[in-house]
Amino acid sequence: CTEKYAEIYYNRPDVQKALHANTTGIPYKWTACSEVLNRNWNDTDVSVLPIYRQLMANRIRVWVFSGDVDSVVPVTATRYALAQLKVATKIPWYPWYVKNQVGGWTEVYEGLTFATVRGAGHEVPLFKPRAALQLFKSFLSGSPLPKS
């Protein structure tokens, strides 16, 4: 329910002043999501996999993770999609660990790393903050997730 607290907090005039926000008097309230934008979204790429290929060709590090109890953009969707890239495996599927527990599973491909986060929902860092921080740490360092 935390977005409800956010909607109250960020609509407070003193908070907006401190953030230098809403300086022009926007004619609607701050909301976590804009239904107007969502309903009127006019162009969308059918697939971003071609962009992944382009980024990988430019040696941009690409990591994709998935909280495995999300049913909105679930882990199966991501796995089906990534399989279309047909990239070679560098490090085969293994469980990765955070604080002596399996944080999830991962596979390292040429130019791309995929990792699941066990028990995390759509907002991975909300549900599994410690595991998400480990994921971020490994991503920044460019090293595989810990095997133990």
Partner: protein, 260 residues
């Protein structure tokens, strides 16, 4: 005028004492239309000058990275239940990086446009172009970040925004003497491919016993997952699954108690 000092946050109402610096404000990305994007930078709590810059984007489309990324997920603060103040998130990613939360496109959160029609005809392309303009202008305001390693991260529909912005930066870099030091992208539960996302989603519903065998078979046989907009028959199957079979669950975390 217009420099970073004007954007410095002295303290947020109800904020606990912290050792890191914060900045927030607007960057105009289209003067003609009057489109301006809002950002919130929470610098690293440890040795920020040596830490990379990480942009976080939320999806929707239409959702705010201040609402989700900053306030629920990776930011240093969470909003308390009474919305009277903030408390520390001890797993904030700003222990490792300088976090830049960007509300994009115009119309999301505090980001705005003076041309109201912008709210009715936006999409991936404009989001990517405006976000690139934001990054370029923002680096002018914060020149100490110009050569810093940059990573772009996000979740959900930002599965589109993140790689699309990265591609814009690569293109930009080919035409400038001062390239942006983009090193990587990371996306979570990311919208990736229309066909495989849809196929994988109904498969997940079935494999996690959220829908019946019959509904699963009908979805697979009726829906054309390649299409952007599904047929009425397919839509009614989705509605049946959600209204009659899912029950009162949090679809974003099927094992968590829903927020009623």
């Amino acid at each position: 005028k217009g420099g970073e000092e004007e954007d410095r946050i002295l303290e947020l109402p109800g904020q606990p004492k912290v050792s890191f610096q914060q900045f927030s404000g607007y960057v105009t990305v289209n003067k003609v239309a009057g489109r301006a994007l809002f950002y919130w930078l929470t610098e690293s709590s440890q040795n920020s000058l040596r830490k990379p810059l990480v942009i976080w984007l939320n999806g929707g489309p239409g959702c705010s990275s201040v609402a989700y990324g900053a306030s629920e997920e990776i930011g240093p603060f969470r909003v308390n239940r009474s919305a009277s103040g903030l408390y520390i998130n001890k797993f904030s990613w700003n222990s490792l990086a300088n976090l830049l939360f960007l509300e994009t496109p115009a119309g999301v959160g505090f980001s705005y446009t003076n041309r109201s029609s912008d709210l009715h005809d936006t999409g991936d392309r404009r989001t990517a172009k405006d976000s690139l303009e934001f990054v370029v202008q923002w680096l002018e305001r914060f020149p100490r970040y110009k050569n810093r390693e940059l990573y772009i991260t996000g979740e959900s529909y930002a599965g589109h925004y993140v790689p699309q912005l990265a591609r814009e930066i690569i293109t930009y870099n080919t035409n400038t003497k001062y390239p942006i030091n983009l090193k990587g992208i990371m996306v979570g539960n990311a919208v990736t491919d229309n066909y495989y996302d849809n196929l994988g989603t109904v498969t997940y519903w079935w494999s996690h016993a959220m829908i019946s065998d019959q509904t699963y078979r009908q979805l697979i046989s009726t829906c054309d997952f390649h299409r952007q907009k599904e047929s009425d028959e397919c839509e009614s199957l989705y509605s049946y699954a959600m209204d009659q079979e899912f029950g009162n669950i949090d679809q974003y975390n099927i094992y968590a108690p829903p927020c009623n």
